[in-house]
């Protein structure tokens, strides 16, 4: 382009090279980036498979996200359906199987931008809740996509509280059918994905009534659209719920049922059955089913919560190494904004958190693998711990990462506000994770309930699950650190986190006890303590995350500088947490005011240390430019050129604006003679 005169920032761009400001960051890396990537992937073989999958997907033009930021809701939806259909073909062509090593990387490679995700939930719920005959009937149809499924649980008036659902399924013995109804407006199913426009069938959760008696919420397979022409079935009203902050590609839907009759065999009946005469039978244990729901919370963490934060850090940190603004020292050229302490303080703790959460996610997966094996052997002892962990960590990670992505967005100034930066869409997508699969406050309270119970048990000398044995270790005392370097000793800060977590659990448990003893009703006492309970649950998860980060670093081989830089990040994550929650640590004097000043000093020193490796640390996440889809965050750092070129692709620049002819022209030419 003729435009590229002599800009010092533009040098090398014409040659397709890397912006020298980014190139210089990479030359000074203190560790092997490739080595760290394989650590993150869990081995070189995983890295190889992941890259292969990503390459195949990104080479295929159908999966392109190039125009994503310019598309309307209708166009996004259509593209997602097209991609979903194409993905089936692609998987077949490549020989990728759902149980193969490639599968987990596919979703990441398409950046979640496909339809029919609920189709998979539909299939899983039939597999888990359905009898052998039901599985044999429905799963092959679903596998061949001869029907498209959804999962209809949430209603307009009810989300969190399942017992409150209002949809009814009344058994009619004469015809051997269930009659389904959404008796009032708040009972309408609302939000289920793929249901607004795509699904032909859905699993509806409804209150079961037999002979006038309510048996609680049960799942039913209901056909909602014709398999021939896709028109709505009789008695069905369904559609899209309208625009949202994100997920424009998904047709979240509403569903009204008016006297819809389905055969008796359509109630998923592995655990419960209504017999032809209306007798209700319950069989087996639903606990394993409960376990399945719990695993969903853990399985979404990586793709929906941690990866978006990693992407946001990649974009913001690369951009901060390219963007120059103001002068740090007179006479020098303008400084990279990454050199400003205030910018480091925004971004580097997010980077450290991304690593901390990646490792705690590994920990959770191990916990669940072990739990799964026990449950297979009908040992359900670990269920409460698994449930509490999945709830607490889902809540803490989604909240933390959502805030982190927003910090990255705002750290990119004006350009971060452009959709072309990629950051607004990362943000609007991740923030849904604070609500779905359990609203965060509710989840934290579930974790807190577990902690209060375990604290009581531990105090009484009874055995408690492994992750909370620390609750028995109540010992008053003071933090022994004498200078700021002591706070780089993991024993010191892990102990501080542990102390604070115990203090919060024990003081809340005591307060709850006091209230109840003073005559306050149990539920009322609980409600009065919920603010503190939430705090205790967060402190527990924070402690486990720090401890796990420390243990992970200890286990890393000390080669290629990886252990050293990870230790720095671990220190930063831990000290930032104390710095930001100073009140909690100072409260009972465990940490003194003078020690808090040492922590602050150590924390600020670490920013300067990690600054040097900031770009290599995000490079190690190994995102391709296509997956970042950001004009600010590409590997080559040619930010401005890309921003300019992408803006020109905007439909607002491609089409003649009707506004000019209709409104501007008259405005500019009437000279407002009326006035």
């Amino acid at each position: 382009m003729a435009l590229l005169g002599t800009s010092k920032y533009a040098q090398g761009i014409g040659l397709g090279g890397v912006n020298p400001d980014l190139a210089s960051e990479r030359q000074t890396a203190s560790f092997s980036v490739e080595g760290l990537t394989t650590v993150l992937d869990g081995g070189a073989e995983h890295t190889r498979v992941r890259r292969a999958v990503v390459e195949v997907i990104e080479r295929d033009p159908v999966f392109s996200r190039e125009n994503q930021y310019f598309q309307t809701q209708n166009e996004r939806y259509e593209a997602a359906v097209r991609k979903a259909v194409h993905l089936q073909k692609k998987m077949h062509e490549m020989g990728w199987r759902e149980d193969g090593p490639e599968f987990i990387y596919i979703y990441r490679a398409v950046a979640g931008d496909v339809a029919f995700l609920l189709h998979r939930v539909f299939m899983r719920s039939i597999s888990v809740l359905g009898s052998d005959e039901q599985v044999a009937k429905w799963i092959p149809l679903a596998t061949k996509h001869q029907l498209i499924g959804s999962y209809a649980q949430t209603e307009l008036g009810h989300g969190t509280y399942l017992q409150g659902l209002e949809t009814t399924a009344v058994f009619d013995t004469t015809t051997q059918e269930f009659i389904l109804n959404t008796p009032k407006i708040s009972a309408m199913k609302w939000w289920p994905g793929d249901m607004g426009r795509s699904a032909t069938h859905t699993v509806v959760f409804a209150q079961l009534y037999v002979h006038g008696k309510c048996y609680g919420v049960h799942p039913f397979i209901v056909q909602i659209r014709s398999l021939r022409d896709h028109s709505l079935c009789p008695g069905i009203t369904a559609g899209d719920i309208g625009p949202k902050m994100n997920f424009e590609h998904i047709d979240n839907g509403y569903l009204m049922l008016q006297n819809v009759r389905i055969p008796r065999e359509n109630m998923l009946n592995k655990f419960c059955e209504v017999q032809p005469d209306g007798t209700y039978i319950r069989r087996g244990s639903q606990k394993i089913n409960y376990f399945t729901m719990t695993t969903v919370r853990v399985s979404l963490l990586s793709d929906e919560v941690i990866l978006p934060l990693m992407k946001a850090c990649t974009i913001a940190i690369r951009y901060s190494a390219v963007r120059r603004q103001s002068k740090l020292n007179p006479g020098e050229e303008e400084a990279k904004i990454l050199d400003y302490q205030t910018q480091q303080e925004k971004l580097l703790p997010q980077l450290a958190a991304a690593y901390a959460f990646h490792f705690v996610n590994n920990y959770l997966h191990k916990l669940f693998d072990t739990g799964y094996k026990e449950i297979q052997e009908r040992n359900f002892n670990s269920l409460p711990e698994l449930h509490a962990s999945s709830s607490g960590f889902k809540a803490m990670l989604s909240q933390y990462c959502t805030a982190g992505v927003e910090i990255c967005l705002r750290a990119c100034g004006g350009h971060g506000y452009s959709l072309l930066s990629g950051l607004p869409s990362l943000y609007t997508k991740i923030l849904a994770s604070c609500i779905y699969e359990g609203e965060n406050t509710i989840l934290l309270l579930q974790t807190a309930r577990f902690l209060v119970k375990c604290f009581a048990a531990a105090s009484a000398g009874q055995p408690v699950p492994q992750s909370v044995t620390y609750l028995a270790a109540v010992k008053p005392g003071k933090c022994p650190a004498k200078n700021k370097l002591d706070f780089l000793n993991p024993d010191i800060y892990v102990e501080a986190y542990q102390h604070t977590a115990i203090r919060l659990s024990s003081s809340t448990a005591a307060k709850l006890q006091d209230l109840i003893q003073s005559g306050v009703k149990k539920h009322e006492a609980w409600n009065q303590c919920t603010v503190q309970l939430v705090q205790a649950a967060k402190a527990h998860c924070h402690y486990i995350t720090v401890k796990n980060f420390v243990e992970t670093v200890e286990k890393l081989e000390n080669k290629a500088g990886i252990q050293k830089i990870m230790k720095h990040l671990c220190d930063l994550f831990a000290l930032h947490g104390i710095f930001s929650n100073a009140g909690l640590f100072l409260h009972d004097g465990y940490i003194s005011g003078a020690q808090m000043d040492m922590i602050t000093a150590s924390y600020l020193d670490l920013l300067g240390v990690i600054r040097k490796d900031a770009v290599p640390l995000v490079d190690a996440f190994d995102f391709t430019d296509k997956s970042l889809n950001s004009a600010l965050g590409s590997y080559d750092g040619n930010v401005y050129q890309r921003l300019y070129e992408w803006a020109q692709q905007s439909p607002t620049n491609q089409q003649i604006s009707p506004a000019y002819e209709k409104y501007l022209r008259p405005l500019l030419h009437n000279k407002l003679s009326k006035l």
């Binding site: 209708n74 625009p243 303080e345 607004p424 604070c434 539920h523 409600n527 503190q532 808090m596």
Partner: protein, 662 residues
């Protein structure tokens, strides 16, 4: 019919919301006039249109342009000329959203008035007033926002033709972001580095025609367009502008102050202190905007929380309103208190600015530096807090908050850029810090400082008995707002002093002043934050005594206490570390915060009703005044673009072929 829950809430309020509305508006007469203007717009069929959530970006721009043209004509027809009344009219027409003529009305015209010569005003002002000329203000470049001196656009004077030659020499120098530039304007005031007689004279403003009058096509040498989709601001055609040897006559440089004579001689401006005033004014608007945006979000979240029922609080009883959960109150009520606090801060800055403007005209500029420094920090403090608060309100609405029908996504995306524009917040905080450090150093040098920083004077007194400020004890009464102001003051003094000492320690180690400043900047930002926090608590507390109605004063006192105590609870570390409060007192504070939640609970709905947002302006199905949420969500959804046809075309294009193949 009003939802029964909301009816009950309103009946149980202990005060009359209208009285509080009058206080917010600045008197009953102002309220009356505001509602009168509101009615003019809302009852005008010309300003009706489809829900913007269902329109594409181009359609939204088109609607905005349509309404803006009408707005300009009607304002004149109705003879509305008072700036505040114009602001009301505009915000009802555009429902709090930006619009393509914002820069024309808010920057282009005022800049002509203040910086153009009489001859230039003759040439440009009336055509611009009559919208034959639509202008924008092109300052920010792709590579430069905050650091104005770094702008790269050049204007080189050519004495042979008596013209300036404008150039965008690099990609980074392309003008980027100016509102109304992309599609709407035919002129721009361009800021460029002036070169004359081979020398750079720094930034100056030039009037540059960019589009052909008549055809609206870009002029030769001009490349102009829209910068593409953004997080929000769909109505606004933020644009780019690249100039290649584009010539404008010498007379198009705004020359009221600096001048270039025909032969190229540069004449320096006399003084430019007045630009300070404009910045203060715009920042005071942002503080007010923080208050209003947060108020809107609180209105939606609190009304919805009174209508939504979920789960069991007591076994066997009906599902309670979610507003009865302590966790929900803890999310929302401190934000409600914050919204009120920010309203009063916004009003204070506006009043002070008015008063000082009077002084400026009389030649007394002594208060301006402090006000300038203070508004920088308050702009950052309030916009950051409101930004986060709006998101908390949305989260508090659960899944439905995520739907655009809740209106909160729109409030958020419209508001969040104010953390960046008119001074990036971190940079703003550091400006305030610079003033605080300067004041601190004056005190250390034995001078007295006045105004909001006068608490620093106490530090020098303590210096006589060499004692760390932290050792000072304040006996804090946690139910007395005045006493809490003292606690906040002590905290500010402690952290300003700490930042100043850390800066000094860095200076003792290092050669470069700038380097030391950078290495202390996290502390400096904290110092500014706590200073602003103190100012806000102080202003909120001061407001209480001005409220004459006892019932209103009682509820405002509760909110003020909640604001102050919640701030202590959230920043307990600062107060404990400085020895201002003991951990036993912090425990009391935490307990008192929860008691206040329960005390405020019965008035929560009335407190948001007092903000007095009309449903049309609120733009939220969840926050409707009548509380009929679910029916209207359904009605709203039916209009979704995906529902335009019974069977979506994707079925025929993709689904059916796949099903046939497999």
């Amino acid at each position: 019919m009003m939802n029964a829950d909301l009816r009950r809430e309103r009946a149980a309020a202990t005060f009359q919301p209208e009285l509080l509305t009058h206080i917010l508006d600045g008197g009953a007469e102002r309220t009356r006039r505001r509602k009168e203007i509101e009615a003019l717009v809302i009852n005008d069929p010309d300003f009706q249109h489809e829900d913007l959530n269902f329109l594409s970006r181009s359609q939204r721009y088109e609607q905005a342009i349509r309404k803006s043209s009408l707005m300009v004509m009607k304002l004149r027809e109705y003879g509305i000329a008072d700036p505040e009344e114009i602001y009301w009219f505009k915000s009802f027409v555009h429902r709090g959203r930006p619009e393509p003529l914002d820069l024309h009305l808010g920057m282009f015209l005022p800049t002509l008035l203040t910086q153009a010569t009489p001859e230039q005003q003759d040439r440009f002002f009336m055509p611009a007033w009559n919208l034959e000329i639509i202008g924008t203000y092109a300052q920010t470049e792709m590579g430069h926002g905050t650091h104005l001196r770094g702008l790269e656009t050049t204007a080189t004077y050519d004495p042979a033709t008596q013209e300036f030659i404008l150039n965008s020499p690099t990609v980074t120098s392309i003008k980027w972001w100016p509102g109304g530039l992309g599609k709407t304007s035919n002129h721009a005031i361009v800021l460029a580095q002036l070169y004359t007689q081979g020398q750079c004279k720094g930034l100056h403003a030039f009037i540059v025609p960019i589009r052909q009058l008549g055809t609206h096509e870009p002029l030769p040498g001009i490349t102009v367009g829209d910068i593409g989709p953004k997080f929000g601001y769909d109505e606004m055609d933020n644009g780019y502008l690249k100039m290649d040897n584009f010539r404008i006559p010498r007379e198009n440089m705004l020359m009221k102050y600096a001048q270039v004579e025909p032969d190229g001689t540069y004449v320096k401006p006399v003084s430019d202190k007045l630009t300070y005033g404009t910045m203060v004014f715009i920042r005071s608007l942002i503080v007010g905007d923080s208050a209003r945006s947060l108020s809107r979000a609180c209105t939606i979240a609190i009304r919805y929380s009174a209508v939504r029922h979920q789960s069991e609080l007591k076994p066997g009883e009906p599902e309670p309103q979610i507003l009865d959960y302590q966790t929900q109150q803890y999310k929302l009520f401190p934000l409600l208190a914050t919204a009120y606090a920010f309203h009063f801060v916004g009003a204070y800055i506006k009043d002070t600015y008015r008063r000082i403007s009077g002084d400026i005209n009389a030649g007394d500029l002594s208060e301006l530096p402090e006000l300038h420094a203070l508004t920088a920090g308050l702009k950052a403090f309030t916009s950051w807090t409101a930004n986060a608060g709006i998101e908390e309100c949305r989260m508090a609405c659960g899944g439905h908050g995520y739907s655009r029908c809740s209106g909160i996504p729109d409030i958020y995306v419209t508001f969040t850029p104010s953390c960046t524009y008119e001074g990036e917040n971190t940079v703003m905080m550091l400006q305030t810090a610079r003033f605080l450090i300067k004041s601190y150093n004056q005190v250390i040098a034995g001078q007295r400082v006045s105004g909001m920083v006068s608490y620093l004077n106490d530090l020098s007194r303590q210096r006589i008995q060499p004692q760390h400020v932290a050792a000072r004890t304040v006996s804090v009464r946690i139910n007395d707002p005045t006493s809490l102001v003292e606690a906040y003051k002590a905290r500010a003094a402690r952290l300003v002093e700490a930042a100043a000492k850390n800066l000094q320690a860095e200076l003792n180690h290092r050669k470069s002043k700038e380097d030391a400043w950078n290495r202390t900047s996290v502390d400096l930002v904290r110092a500014s934050e706590v200073h602003c926090h103190y100012v806000i608590v102080k202003l909120f507390t001061a407001k209480l005594s001005e409220i004459s109605n006892a019932a209103v004063r009682a509820v405002m006192t509760e909110l003020c206490l909640l604001y102050a105590l919640y701030g202590i609870s959230k920043n307990a570390g600062d107060f404990m570390q400085a020895g201002i409060l003991t951990d036993a007192q912090i425990t009391q504070v935490n307990q008192r915060v929860k008691e206040l939640l329960a005390i405020i609970r019965p008035n929560a709905v009335a407190l948001v009703d007092s903000f007095d947002f009309h449903d049309t302006h609120l733009g939220s199905v969840l926050g409707r005044y009548d509380g009929n949420v679910y029916e209207n969500m359904f009605e709203w959804a039916k209009k979704s673009p995906l529902n335009k046809t019974e069977v979506h075309e994707s079925f025929h294009k993709h689904l059916k072929p796949m099903q046939a193949k497999l």
